[in-house]
């Protein structure tokens, strides 16, 4: 196994495994926000704004995994 093959496998695993928990967490956050809006439609404005900020925070985890994958694929320090 060369370093290139290991890097490709590492990138795939980073994105695939790393996006599982953010996906679950975003689903839960949206469910909670939907319930809140259904119960109290007049709070929809502030709820959705907070939801967007929260989703961005959760999504950061997945973005970090993407950055690691890109570094492995295109800027790998060990594959020179």
């Amino acid at each position: 196994m060369t370093v290139q093959m290991l890097s490709i496998i590492g990138a795939v695993v980073a994105v695939a495994v790393g996006s599982i928990s953010p996906a679950l967490a975003e689903g839960r956050a949206i469910t909670a926000a939907m319930e809140g809006i259904a119960r109290q439609p007049e709070a929809a404005g502030s709820l959705s704004r907070t939801l967007f900020v929260g989703l961005a925070m959760i999504e950061t985890m997945a973005i970090y995994c993407l950055v690691i994958a890109l570094l492995l694929l295109f800027a790998n320090p060990f594959a020179r």
Binding site: R49, F52, A56, T60, I63, F74
Partner: protein, 222 residues
């Protein structure tokens, strides 16, 4: 898929300073926005016509959003945050124009914008709270948290840049991969999704910048 999304295309040099494709695109967008705003605001009157009413609606909507987020008068923050939002909308959507790559799809533009937000947090914090109370904010809730507060300042700016870069760049990458695999009309739904992602990311970047500035001036708990 031979070109890395982290690579920089150098177009020409001014002296010893290399000018990349991203910078040229950004200059073009800046010129278009400045010229557009100059032409649009030149003929403002008291009885607004349709065009003026549209611009006023946009500005008032942004001002109200910032005011609701910060729970105070939004006037000092409107120039920075409004410009940030409008520039990001235009920059993210410029990738749709054939031959133009969105400047936010390269890592340097989001990094520069995040650096502006990082500096303006301290600028507004010191100017509104004063230097002493602002620095004391880093010792809250107790002085043990000082390294963590400084660390969170740095990592949130990094994640602000990486979020924008990752989303816009991955949108373009997905379109390129689908185009290489499938053919002519298949990538269109993904490009339409890219428009939505671009708008949402411009909104999220501006809202997070407003939240960070709100944390800096002490109206939002960090």
């Amino acid at each position: 898929m031979n070109r890395s999304p982290l690579a920089i295309t150098i177009l020409f040099h001014i002296g010893i300073v290399p000018i990349s494709r991203t910078v040229v695109t950004t200059w073009g967008l800046m010129a278009a926005l400045t010229g557009g705003c100059w032409i649009a605001t030149r003929s403002f009157r008291l009885d607004a016509g349709g065009w003026q009413a549209m611009i006023e609606t946009v500005v008032i909507a942004i001002e109200e959003q910032i005011g609701e987020l910060l729970n105070r008068d939004a006037t000092p923050f409107l120039p920075l945050l409004g410009t940030l939002f409008i520039f990001l909308v235009v920059a993210n959507l410029s990738g749709i124009v054939p031959g133009v790559t969105a400047p936010t799809a390269a890592v340097e533009t989001p990094a520069a914008l995040a650096a502006i937000v990082f500096l303006s947090v301290h600028f507004y914090g010191v100017r509104i709270q004063g230097l002493g109370p602002y620095l004391k904010g880093y010792l809250r809730p107790n002085p043990v948290m000082l390294p963590f507060n400084i660390l969170s300042e740095l990592t949130r700016s990094f994640s602000l840049a990486m979020r924008l870069f990752g989303n816009i760049m991955s949108g373009e990458l997905v379109v390129a991969i689908i185009l290489a695999m499938a053919g002519l009309l298949v990538p269109i739904p993904f490009m339409a999704f890219g428009i939505l992602v671009g708008l949402v990311q411009a909104y999220i970047f501006s809202v997070l910048a407003a939240v960070y500035i709100g944390g800096g001036i002490g109206v939002i708990e960090k």
